[in-house]
Each structure stands twice: as structure tokens, then as C-alpha cells.
């Protein structure tokens, strides 16, 4: 029976100083707490509380705990209805706004238009908000290291000093991708989704079990993504075993794998050897690059997949999987009753639980997304 003392940075990254680490812990812990509480029942019906979701820092993880990864394909499902592969790859490469599977990428080409490098990120934007508030110099250093030396501080920060998530070096599919920016790709969304999915739904006497019927009923994500319905279905299937569920520490989205079945390189070398992680621990990588070293006489664009040269970053994304990891324990012991109706939103309601609140930093540090409830023991004290 254990608790953890604090939520760690995604990917066990080491960029944050002490204040940043504390702020990050507060953000995750608060987001989890809010997700456990759920929305105000006066505003949103049948969606709270979520007693089978728990905070790793406050509630014991029992000895029967099991960890399981939930994985999905990084290529955006919403583009699957394109009439041809070429069309869907073109569309996926055209805008970060359609890259909504918690994985975004940017493509670098040589003068002839041939791909030389594709950069993938699954880093949540909230982490960069925290880093920018606690150590803006580090943000600039990281951009220069991973995007390019031409990045200037004024490119990243607005006149008021606030970090700009969608800055010129992180808002396209060609200039670089430092972290996620697509509006649905946030860690707050991941936490809320996982929590909401722990609610069992028995509607009309029948327990909902399918991914699509669950997300349609519980309204916990975007139905036409690969990720959200799948995460919800897996979490709910564990909840139906009457287990308590938490997102494993460090909370985040991580790269799972790159498959290279059917890939071929001009010199017969292993195509997977050109896939490397640039940020995050080995088991929780958050930044990946596909690039052929300069000492080879070919580039990414010369590699073929099923006989077809790589002309789009999205061709690689078809083979990339991303994941989150959840922990389940007290299996069979939960007495939480199921909800017997689907979620109903009050008119005009706009629930964004778990959203990071850059404005809530104070002299005492980050006050969390509910500064009215600060100070608490988890708050940073300057």
C-alpha cells in the first residue's frame, strides 16, 4: 500500500527546477482531483463524481495493482475517409490542427523537396507553460537545441511575457514541432477523459461496453479520434471489473513504437535504426525524430514503404503508435454504483476541467487551476 509524494514531469524530463517541478505536481494533482470530483451536478448531469478514479499522491495504490498501456495509431482517424492514401497523407501533413491523436509532426525537406527529417512530438502544452513561467531561458535553450539556432526569445514570448504556445516555430508542419498545440491535444483532456470513463453506464437496464456507445453517452472526448474512444473503452472495461483506476506517474502521452514492416532502405540497412528519441526516458519518450544520418548517401525520401517512397510525414505516422499508462488496483472491490443515464450538458456550459491556468502564478508560486482554494499543502512556497 503506497502513495507517491509528488507527480513527476512527463517523460521524467529534467528541464524543470524545483519550483517548476512543484508547479507541475500541483497542476497534475489538481487536475486529477477536479476530474475525480467531476463537473458541478447542477450544470452537468450524470457525470460526477468519479469515485473509481484516484490521485496517486492521496490514495494508496494497493498491492494487487496492475499497470497497462493503452496504445493507438498516431495517424488522425478523422482523415480516414479520404478517397486515397495520397489525399489523406497530404491533408495530415498540411496542418497541425488535424493532427489530433496526441501526436503532431513537422517535415523537413531538402531543396529538391525530398524529405530529410520528420520530427514528432507528444509533449502536452501545459508542461511548456509551466517551464516558461519558471525558467523561460530554458525554453529558449530547448527551442534552439531542437528547432534551430534562429529562434529568438521574442518569437516565443508575447509583449506581456507570456509564453505563446502557437509561436512561429511551433504552429506549422514545416517549421518545427516543439510540443502539442492542436486544441484537443492536452494533458488536461487526457486526465478528464480517463476519469470520466471510470463511470460505469447502465442505461435502460443494459450496461454500455462499446467504445462508441460509451463516448456517445459519457461525452468524454472526440468520437472520431482513434485515441479518445479507445482510452475510454479500455478504462471503462477495467472499471467494470470494480477496480480503482489512476493514470500512472509520470502522467503523459508517450511514444509506444514505430513499426517498419514492409519498409525498405536503399542500402538494406535497418529502417528502424533511423528512429530515435530526443526527449524523455527510454520507457516514456516524448519526442522522436526520423532521420537518416548524414554519412549515408540517401535520405528519408529514398526509403520506401510497401514499394512507395516516403513523400509525406504522415506515411511514417501510419506506423507510429502512442500510449498512456494506467494503474488499476483493488480489483473487484469498488462499490461505486453505475450511472443510469447519459451525460446531459446544461445550455451554455463550457467545462474544461484540468486546463492549465498560466495566470494563477503568484508570489507563492503556482496556485493551481482553483486559486480561490489556495493555499494548500501542495502549493509552492517561495
Amino acid at each position: 500500500m503506497t502513495t507517491i509524494s509528488a507527480y513527476g514531469p512527463p517523460g521524467r524530463l529534467t528541464d524543470l527546477d524545483d519550483a517548476g517541478r512543484q508547479a507541475w505536481h500541483v497542476f497534475i494533482s489538481d487536475s486529477v482531483d477536479e476530474a475525480i470530483t467531476g463537473p458541478d451536478p447542477a450544470e452537468v448531469l450524470h457525470n460526477s463524481p468519479r469515485p473509481q478514479f484516484y490521485n496517486l499522491t492521496r490514495t494508496d495504490t494497493a498491492e494487487d495493482a496492475v499497470r497497462a498501456a493503452v496504445t493507438w495509431t498516431a495517424f488522425p482517424n478523422r482523415l480516414r475517409s479520404a478517397i486515397s492514401d495520397r489525399q489523406r497523407w497530404q491533408r495530415a501533413d498540411a496542418s497541425r490542427d488535424v493532427q489530433d491523436e496526441y501526436c503532431e509532426w513537422s517535415v523537413t525537406r531538402d531543396d529538391s523537396g525530398k524529405i530529410t527529417r520528420v520530427t514528432f512530438t507528444c509533449e502536452g502544452p501545459e508542461y511548456w507553460d509551466v517551464l516558461a513561467r519558471t525558467d523561460p531561458d530554458k525554453v529558449l535553450d530547448l527551442y534552439r537545441a531542437h528547432i534551430g539556432p534562429a529562434v529568438r526569445r521574442s518569437d516565443l514570448f508575447g509583449p506581456d511575457g507570456r509564453y505563446v504556445r502557437r509561436n512561429k516555430w511551433n504552429d506549422s508542419t514545416t517549421q518545427g514541432a516543439m510540443h502539442l498545440i492542436q486544441q484537443s491535444n492536452t494533458l488536461g483532456a487526457e486526465i478528464e477523459l480517463a476519469a470520466a470513463a471510470t463511470i460505469r453506464r447502465v442505461v435502460g437496464g443494459r450496461e454500455l461496453t462499446g467504445a462508441q456507445e460509451l463516448i456517445a453517452c459519457a461525452k468524454y472526448g472526440v468520437p472520431d479520434r482513434n485515441s479518445d474512444p479507445h482510452i475510454g473503452e479500455v478504462v471503462n472495461s477495467v472499471a467494470r471489473q470494480k477496480a480503482d483506476i489512476a493514470l500512472s506517474d509520470p502522467v503523459g502521452i508517450y511514444f509506444d513504437d514505430l513499426a517498419t514492416d514492409g519498409w525498405s532502405t536503399p542500402d538494406g540497412s535497418d529502417p528502424k535504426s533511423f528512429w530515435r528519441f530526443e526527449r524523455g526516458d527510454t520507457d516514456v519518450p516524448v519526442r522522436a525524430v526520423y532521420e537518416v544520418p548524414g554519412d549515408r548517401d540517401f535520405t528519408v525520401g529514398d526509403i520506401t514503404i510497401a514499394g512507395r517512397p516516403i513523400e509525406f510525414g504522415a506515411q511514417i505516422t501510419d506506423f507510429v503508435t502512442v500510449k498512456l499508462t494506467a494503474t488499476a488496483c483493488r480489483i473487484g472491490l469498488s462499490t461505486a454504483p453505475p450511472q443510469t443515464a447519459c451525460v446531459e450538458l446544461a445550455a451554455g456550459d463550457d467545462v474544461t476541467p484540468g486546463a492549465f491556468s498560466p495566470g494563477t502564478f503568484s508570489a507563492q508560486g503556482y496556485l493551481g487551476s482553483r486559486p480561490d482554494q489556495a493555499p494548500r499543502s501542495t502549493r509552492l512556497v517561495a
Binding site: I83, S84, D85, Q212
Partner: protein, 537 residues
């Protein structure tokens, strides 16, 4: 009856007629021709070739270089269970990268709603060297009732197929056996039709497989939950990539040998994968059928229902202008499920349940393995892209089971032909025949396609595809047009059900459409009519 069908150590094929009266199924014994099965011995038993399992000759045995032979048989080891196969590989330090997949046609039927229904879950397990293509695929069930293996031989460049028939193992053929006339379509090659590995539900949403689109449902006390392999199950989205890669590996190996001294040795074996449906895959929408509400979002029907998009658009690159696959109002689909009496039915158990398959609108589509042969043949210059396109554009609105395209096989020689001119020669023969045949004949349709200049065929064919898709997109937004497509889909499903590939009754829905309803076809003008051997109007 073949060894494959006689043994009880195979999958329970609920869609097949019973081979023997109940209780008559017996293990292969010494009474079988060939002297029976001896423990500790690798036998050979190729359906259509061998009259019974016989001990494999030393010469053939010594020639096997696949992992199953290397790790087990050549070392005198005879694993009798799935776990023994996997453990044996681990002990030998061979193929350490293991991926486990789970499939079951009853996997989306809530266990408590059908407690008497046998679930018949099956594992598919791949083993590979890290970062390499899988070299071993095992198909089995949690109790190892059946145990079958496809193993890649890197020297012979074939898959060897093995099945355990207690107390021994039987080599049931290799990839070439699938193409040889005596064994083609027999034994394991009724599903490994062209010699490669098979995953019928190859694309998203990978119906019946556990995947990121659907998790197989287990009862809380299902013993499978305690099976260590179950805990390793990953999504079938990964298996799709593996299977496609392995199909292509065999295709490449095969095509590297089809030309000898400037002649194509078996032109018919190559072009039947262009002109006929040697097999099919099953495609569906990604929408859970039970969630389709009359007021819901439009239903995007599988593109492979309309045309062989993989070959025409992805491989041959027709520059179509259409942006998205045709979609139908959800209300029309929901109405059709009720109106046509869709139900899931397994006669052997008496199970029946109203509604469509878990994912809506499942239909056969052109097989990846057929398309892969065409794609690689074009890439290698064995078949000109124009020739392939002209052939596929014959009756292109019928992507599977087209008797019109199949009719053209009569112009494909069975004897060796010069690789430099063979396709042009076939085209010339078809065009010549067309001069005296009706304008709607398959020959005339091919001749019209062939008459399109080399520089223009991609655009000309793309315009035809665009025009066709525009018409069907409009038609399926009408009640009568959608109902026609439902009937057409059922017609194609019934053709599939006649294939040995249709093993399980719960793979496809049953409907109230009369059993003697005529087979249907889609015309290029977007209308549905009775199937004929004529060309498209």
C-alpha cells in the same frame, strides 16, 4: 476428405457444413493411409498431393530452414502446446520479439446476453527478431485444441505451413503448394489461397479482432483473464502492418522467380490475381452498428465496396478529384437493418440476435494479396501499369467477384510467354476478339480502355471514377438507392459465404433477402442490376 478436414484438431468452423455425423470425428490413427502418425516424427501431408500423412523424407526434412524446423524438429523437439512452442523459442533465444493478438467472432456479444454461446477465442502470435519482419506466426486457442504455424524459410523464401496433429507434427505444404494445381485451394490453402499469411479483416476497424477500435468482451470470471498470453494482447492495428509486410515478402520472393530466360513461366497464375478475386478481405464502416441512430452522422461506407481503390487509386495512382468516400444518411442504414431483418445467427448453437455485425456494413473487398501481386508486378516491369489499369477498369464498379473481368482470363495463356510482349500480346488478342463482339462485351470494354493513349489513361480513368462516385454518392442518399446497395452487399456476402474462407457463422450477418434472390452487380452509372457476364453500360 483431406487430412485437414478430418482431424478434430482444427478451428471449429461453424459456417462449414458438418463433415461427419456428430461423434464421428476421430483423431488420425494408424489406420490412415500412409501408416498413421508416429510420435517424434515430422510428417508431410499436403492436401491434394499426399494421400495421407507420411513421414517426411530425410532429404526434404534436411532442406527445411524455417524457425520451426531449426528450433524444434531438427533438434528432435516436438512441442504439443502453444506454450511449449513459445517457451521453446525463448529457451533457444530465437525470435524474442513476441506480439499477441486475439480474435473471436463472438467477441462483441456481451457474455451475459448469450451465456450458452461458445466464444471460440483464438490467439494469433507473431515472433520476430527485434526490428525485423516476423518469421513465425502461430494460430491457436487458449487450450491448444488446434495449433498451426506459418514459418518463413529465408533460404527457400517460402512460408512453410505446419499443424500439430497429436502426437506428431505435419508439414502441410509451403507457399508454392498454394499455387500448384493439385493442392491449390485444398487443405490450409483454402484460406492461404496464394501462399501467404492471412488476416481477413485486415483494415480498420479490424472486425472481430481486439484492437484500438474494439476490445473483446469477457465475462468477469472468464478463465482467459488469467491466461498470461491474454495479458499480452495488443491491438490488431499492429498485426495489419505485420501481415501486409509478410504478404509483400512472399510476393517479392515469388515474383523474383516467375521469369526464366525471358519468359513468364505461368502467366495465368500471375494474371488471375489481376482479373479475378482469388480471395477477398472483409471491410466495414468504423461505426458500431448498434449506435447508428436515425438522427446521427452520415455513414461512410467502405470505399472497397465501390471500387478497388487500393489498386486503382493508391497503387496505380489515378488522380481522382473526389475528396471523400460516399456516405449515406444514418437513417437509411438504420431503416435497412430493420427492413431486411438483419440478424446474427449461428445455426449450430441456435444463437440468434437481431441486428448487423458489430461494425456496420461489412462486405468483401478486393484482397490485399491480389493487389500486392499487381503492384509489385507493375513495379518490376512485369506488367505495364497501363495494362493493369485497363484490366481493372473493366467492370471497375464491381471490385470483387466480377465475372466480366474474369471472362478475360480466356485470353491469358497458360504456357510460357515472352516477358517483353506478353501483356501487349494479350491486349491485342482481346482487342482483336472485340471487333466481332457486342459493345457491352468484356472484350469491347477492355478494347475501349486500351484505346486510350498512354499519356492520357490516368486522367481519363480518373474522370470515369469521379463520375461514378458522384452518381453513387447521390444514389445512396435516396431510400431506393441505399436499399439497392444493401441488396448488393448481401449478394456479395453470399458469394463470400460460398468460399471455404467463410469459416465462422458470426462473421457476417443473415438477412431476410430470399436465398434464391439473383446475384447483383453495380453498374458504372450507379445503378444496381442482376449480375451478367456482360460489360458495364
Amino acid at each position: 476428405m483431406s487430412l485437414w478436414e478430418r482431424t478434430p484438431e482444427r478451428r471449429r468452423a461453424t459456417a462449414w457444413p458438418p463433415a461427419e455425423p456428430p461423434g464421428a470425428a476421430v483423431a488420425v490413427t494408424a489406420a490412415d493411409e500412409g501408416g498413421g502418425l508416429r510420435p517424434g516424427t515430422l510428417h508431410r501431408g499436403v492436401s491434394g498431393v499426399d494421400r495421407g500423412p507420411v513421414p517426411m523424407s530425410a532429404e526434404q526434412f534436411d532442406g527445411l530452414r524455417d524457425p520451426m524446423a531449426r528450433v524444434f524438429f531438427r533438434r528432435g523437439r516436438w512441442p504439443m502446446t502453444l506454450e511449449e512452442v513459445l517457451d521453446g523459442l525463448a529457451e533457444a533465444g530465437e525470435l524474442p520479439a513476441q506480439s499477441v493478438y486475439l480474435i473471436g467472432e463472438a467477441g462483441q456479444i456481451p457474455p451475459h446476453e448469450a451465456p450458452g454461446l461458445r466464444r471460440d477465442f483464438r490467439f494469433a502470435i507473431t515472433r520476430a527478431e527485434p526490428g525485423k519482419d516476423a518469421d513465425l506466426l502461430v494460430s491457436s486457442d487458449p487450450g491448444s485444441v488446434f495449433l498451426q504455424v506459418a514459418a518463413w524459410d529465408p533460404q527457400a523464401r517460402v512460408f512453410n505451413y505446419y499443424m500439430r496433429i497429436s502426437p506428431a507434427w505435419v508439414w502441410t505444404g509451403d507457399s508454392w503448394s498454394a499455387l500448384a494445381p493439385r493442392s491449390r485451394g485444398k487443405g490450409c490453402f483454402d484460406s492461404h489461397v496464394n501462399g501467404s499469411v492471412v488476416m481477413k479483416e485486415l483494415k480498420q476497424p479490424w472486425s472481430n479482432w481486439q484492437s484500438m477500435s474494439a476490445t473483446i468482451q469477457l465475462a468477469p470470471d472468464d478463465p482467459l483473464r488469467d491466461n498470461p498470453l491474454y495479458r499480452q494482447v495488443i491491438g490488431a492495428e499492429r498485426l495489419e502492418l505485420t501481415v501486409k509486410g509478410l504478404v509483400s515478402r512472399w510476393t517479392a520472393a515469388r515474383l523474383s522467380t516467375v521469369v526464366t530466360d525471358g519468359v513468364v513461366t505461368h502467366p495465368d497464375r500471375l494474371l488471375r490475381q489481376l482479373l479475378t478475386s482469388t480471395t477477398v478481405n472483409l471491410a466495414s464502416t468504423s461505426v458500431q452498428s448498434a449506435t447508428v441512430a436515425a438522427s446521427g452522422q452520415d455513414l461512410v461506407l467502405p470505399l472497397g465496396f465501390w471500387l478497388n481503390a487500393d489498386a486503382l487509386l493508391n497503387d496505380l495512382g489515378l488522380p481522382v478529384g473526389a475528396a471523400n468516400a460516399p456516405s449515406a444518411p444514418a437513417s437509411l442504414y438504420a431503416d435497412s437493418v430493420a427492413a431486411f431483418g438483419f440478424r446474427m445467427e449461428e445455426r449450430v448453437s441456435g444463437f440468434t440476435r437481431p441486428g448487423d455485425t458489430f461494425f456496420a456494413f461489412m462486405v468483401p473487398e478486393a484482397a490485399y494479396e491480389d493487389n500486392d501481386v499487381v503492384r509489385q508486378a507493375v513495379e518490376r516491369g512485369l506488367v505495364p501499369a497501363r495494362f493493369a489499369a485497363c484490366a481493372l477498369m473493366v467492370d471497375f464498379s464491381e471490385p470483387v467477384f466480377s465475372p466480366v473481368r474474369a471472362h478475360l482470363m480466356r485470353y491469358v495463356p497458360t504456357a510460357p510467354v515472352p516477358v517483353s510482349t506478353w501483356c501487349a500480346d494479350i491486349a491485342a488478342a482481346v482487342v482483336d476478339a472485340a471487333r466481332t463482339l457486342p459493345a457491352d462485351s468484356p472484350e469491347a470494354e477492355f478494347a475501349r480502355n486500351w484505346a486510350v493513349p498512354e499519356a492520357e489513361w490516368p486522367e481519363v480513368f480518373a474522370r470515369r471514377v469521379d463520375a461514378y462516385l458522384e452518381k453513387v454518392a447521390a444514389r445512396i442518399r435516396t431510400a431506393s438507392g441505399f436499399d439497392d446497395c444493401v441488396r448488393l452487399a448481401e449478394s456479395r456476402r453470399r458469394t463470400f459465404k460460398e468460399m471455404r474462407l467463410n469459416e465462422f457463422a458470426l462473421t457476417l450477418p443473415t438477412t431476410d433477402i430470399p436465398a434464391d434472390a439473383p446475384r447483383l452487380r453495380m453498374h458504372e452509372d450507379g445503378t444496381v442490376g442482376e449480375a451478367t457476364s456482360g460489360g458495364s453500360p
